[in-house]
Symmetry: C2
Subunit: 567 residues, 2 copies
Amino acid sequence: MRAKRIAVARGDAEPDLVIAGGQVFSVFTREWLDVDVAVVDGVIAGLGAYEGGERVDARGQYVVPGFLDAHVHIESSKLTPAEFARAVVPHGTTAVVTDPHEIANVLGREGVEWMLEASENLPLDVFVMAPSCVPASHFESPMSALEPADMEAILRHPRALGVAEMMNFPGVIAATPDVVARLELSDHADGHAPGVMGAELDAYIAAGIRSDHEATTFDEALEKRRRGMWVLLREASNARNLRDLLPLVGQYGPEHCAFCTDDREPDFLFRDGHIDQMCRVAVEEGIAPEAALLMATLHPARCHGLMDRGAVAPGLRADLVLLDELETFRPARVFKDGGLVAAEGRAEPFERAPIPEWVRSTMRAAPVGPDAFAVEAAGRVRVIETIPGQLITHAREEEPEVRDGRVVAVPERDLAKIAVIERHHATGRVGLGLVRGFGLRTGGFASTVAHDAHNLVVVGVTDDDMAACAARLQEIGGGIVVARDGAVRGELALPVAGLLSEEPVEEVVAGLEALQDLLREQGVSDSAPFMTLSFLALSVIPSLKITDRGLVDVDRFELVPLAVERS
Amino acid sequence: MRAKRIAVARGDAEPDLVIAGGQVFSVFTREWLDVDVAVVDGVIAGLGAYEGGERVDARGQYVVPGFLDAHVHIESSKLTPAEFARAVVPHGTTAVVTDPHEIANVLGREGVEWMLEASENLPLDVFVMAPSCVPASHFESPMSALEPADMEAILRHPRALGVAEMMNFPGVIAATPDVVARLELSDHADGHAPGVMGAELDAYIAAGIRSDHEATTFDEALEKRRRGMWVLLREASNARNLRDLLPLVGQYGPEHCAFCTDDREPDFLFRDGHIDQMCRVAVEEGIAPEAALLMATLHPARCHGLMDRGAVAPGLRADLVLLDELETFRPARVFKDGGLVAAEGRAEPFERAPIPEWVRSTMRAAPVGPDAFAVEAAGRVRVIETIPGQLITHAREEEPEVRDGRVVAVPERDLAKIAVIERHHATGRVGLGLVRGFGLRTGGFASTVAHDAHNLVVVGVTDDDMAACAARLQEIGGGIVVARDGAVRGELALPVAGLLSEEPVEEVVAGLEALQDLLREQGVSDSAPFMTLSFLALSVIPSLKITDRGLVDVDRFELVPLAVERS
């Protein structure tokens, strides 16, 4: 292999492929070079002038390295790895570093192993980080906890790179032995430290964590970068931090910064794109295209120690994107390991092995009727208030409306009921609360995508609608549903672990958008209501969240009752 | 350890040391931060304000990471590793990446293992690359060849990082199986490709080589950088490429560039310094001090995948340098792993184990009398012409002066005789030639430091002086000597492998300078004549060199006779 590549480079053997006539980006000097790119055995042999091989005419085009996503949960796309690849590869992405902690919550280590298996031989290299926080906290109820021994087993996989985002930042800062032991499993550990600054940030970094994707302000990102963290600028469906953080790049340059998407709904991926969309936004905000490209290519690769990619250079993989221009960054053609895998925004489906039954049968909720959602009256109550485009919530307190001795939803005040139903062990455990921010006027909606334990989360105006949603999700093996007048109006089945569809991306997008349309009819104003809903159960992001065990005050890191005690 | 560091960072445990009041350099933003640095267990815990611990007052000073040398042959200092450390640590160097191929030529794998042993527990971290080219070419005669199995054994050492500079660039470009096999021993391989450009450079890089320290021009360095090589800017005793290459940094920034010294005589290290001297020159040439510091700290660390150093940041080793100002870069104090190891340019000697006898008995040359240097007359002859401050030579041809049927030196034309005597196996093999450029008017001088095979190289005006030099070097176990009127006038014994002195750096410098003074009396104008001499035997640097096997035309890569054939 190496000998052949060398022979091609020096001009004594024929390349498999020559991308000729384009302007080739050097990530090392930020220049555009007027050279051909010769490829053999899936690897770049040289940059120069070459005879023979298949010729790709790139005249008038820009040749750049394939894009990398430095931190993503593939499961948030609601797509299998193969369909995720079909969604992002046409946008120029040729590698992702994923934390499969969603499926780990539902199916444990075996779930992660299935994700690895399901991402073999795709035109997208899927690297994994070993999930470090399953459960995300002791307030959550996954199928089972992922122990350090499970992480070790995952880390032995050739595509495993290190310890996934250490979300238990209070545990890190307190140097909890279990947390420290997990970090010691690898030299490479991703971080997750929203709002952590000053001495606590130093403590978090001193523990051995070298990246963070949770900065939401310039000052926070700057402080993290000063201290040696890779700043992963995030643009998720409901955590759109990119524009707020780009001034860091404008002022200090793109070094030590990389792009990531964390959690993106399939409609966002399908309609707006992936890392290409982040390049587009960066250039809109005044960043040089060359600087944007560094954050999309070399920097995510280096952040994760991937030395075989991230540049168009001899000896690196031939993961190449041809762009018509440097504003939209829409790839005209995408090459993975030297093969054309997408053109004009489209990739052919990849044939995949059938999904085993054990991955498809994960709904084990106890049956719940409308009575399960009854909330006894008890004076002032806590209310979760969502913030559009953010993962964090406000914690409010107010006087509820009570009917027949029970607290009820008040659509006029945008006050709905919310419940989380344990679904892995049929315990019948239900956490109850109130939520504001969706704009729901009638009916209800529910999801078995409910970070991170992925129990069943349901919001509704009436207990009947909530019960109808829950019952239907049990029947279809998980997914998302919308109900009104006590009956389900629409659904998108996500039978794979209750998280992923088996359908092509186009159908998943259509299904999701149809449900979002139904919700809009029912008054919902949130632009990604299912994403917002799914994060209301995540007990490690401030301020007030809900799990099957009840309301969680994340700032105080404790369970709190719905009723506000008099102090 | 980690738990304690975290506790110190968050302010709940006492640091061992606090460097307070200085301006602390962030390599990640190129800013100076007004913070204290807290250290515990040899590692940086945090940057902020800390109580307790030993206090170091750094007010008015700059706190920067310890310097790293990205590529050095320690043996060129003629010092043992401990004395090398005592020479460079006061200049702020706290880690070096060394290729021990000098001692490998003399003592094989065991010699490398002794270097590793002799560099344990120094206030300088000595990382090694496994020598890839022993012998440097088949024209050279080391004690024995270093085979891939030897390299593998070396690579298992915890301080081994990868494959050392692959000097056999013709072999790489030709994809010679033995060369490719050596490169495949590690993902990390250093390069050495003087003047290699275009398709041949691509071939060299495609083989998997990711650094080069041989660029001598802006264009060569730029082409190498564009294609993804780390450009290691070199400032050796007689390869002073720094000023020529700094425009690359000025024009394209310091990314993908790092400093290295390759080969420095002890007087250069002692009088002018080490990496600090390169920072000084860079700033003199108009480079920002912050950019210079990146090339002295973060970049050499990253070039070699050393993720635990190169920055002042939580969790990294407390290798710190305090500077009074950013022009001379002379360190006021140097801390290694949190301990003060040098102040005001001085370090105390470190106690070392005695050097074993087998490392000290390496002179095995057959006895040679004056007749061994006789050259029969034969028409026009080849002449090696040295170039001040360069490793390369010119290949000249001219009519020799003949007396009694033998070619003789002609001081008036600056023409001396040169010989290389095999010294590892007493074969009696002697290579003979003529050299111009030293300015030698009378007598002779010799060295057992003779890259890379380190046979005995001697230059002289008379055969008697050459014989006197050779005989004396055999007696003292190797070293450098100067003779006149058939008698040795001065000597510096280098009994350790015939390469290193056992004496302190001050005495080695004094000894070397005394010999250089003697040579100046004898007409020599070259400012580093022993360094120049030692490279005349290196058969992989153009154009004309000499080994015990005879003259080597490096451009044609073949042995050539002294006499020019009529063509």
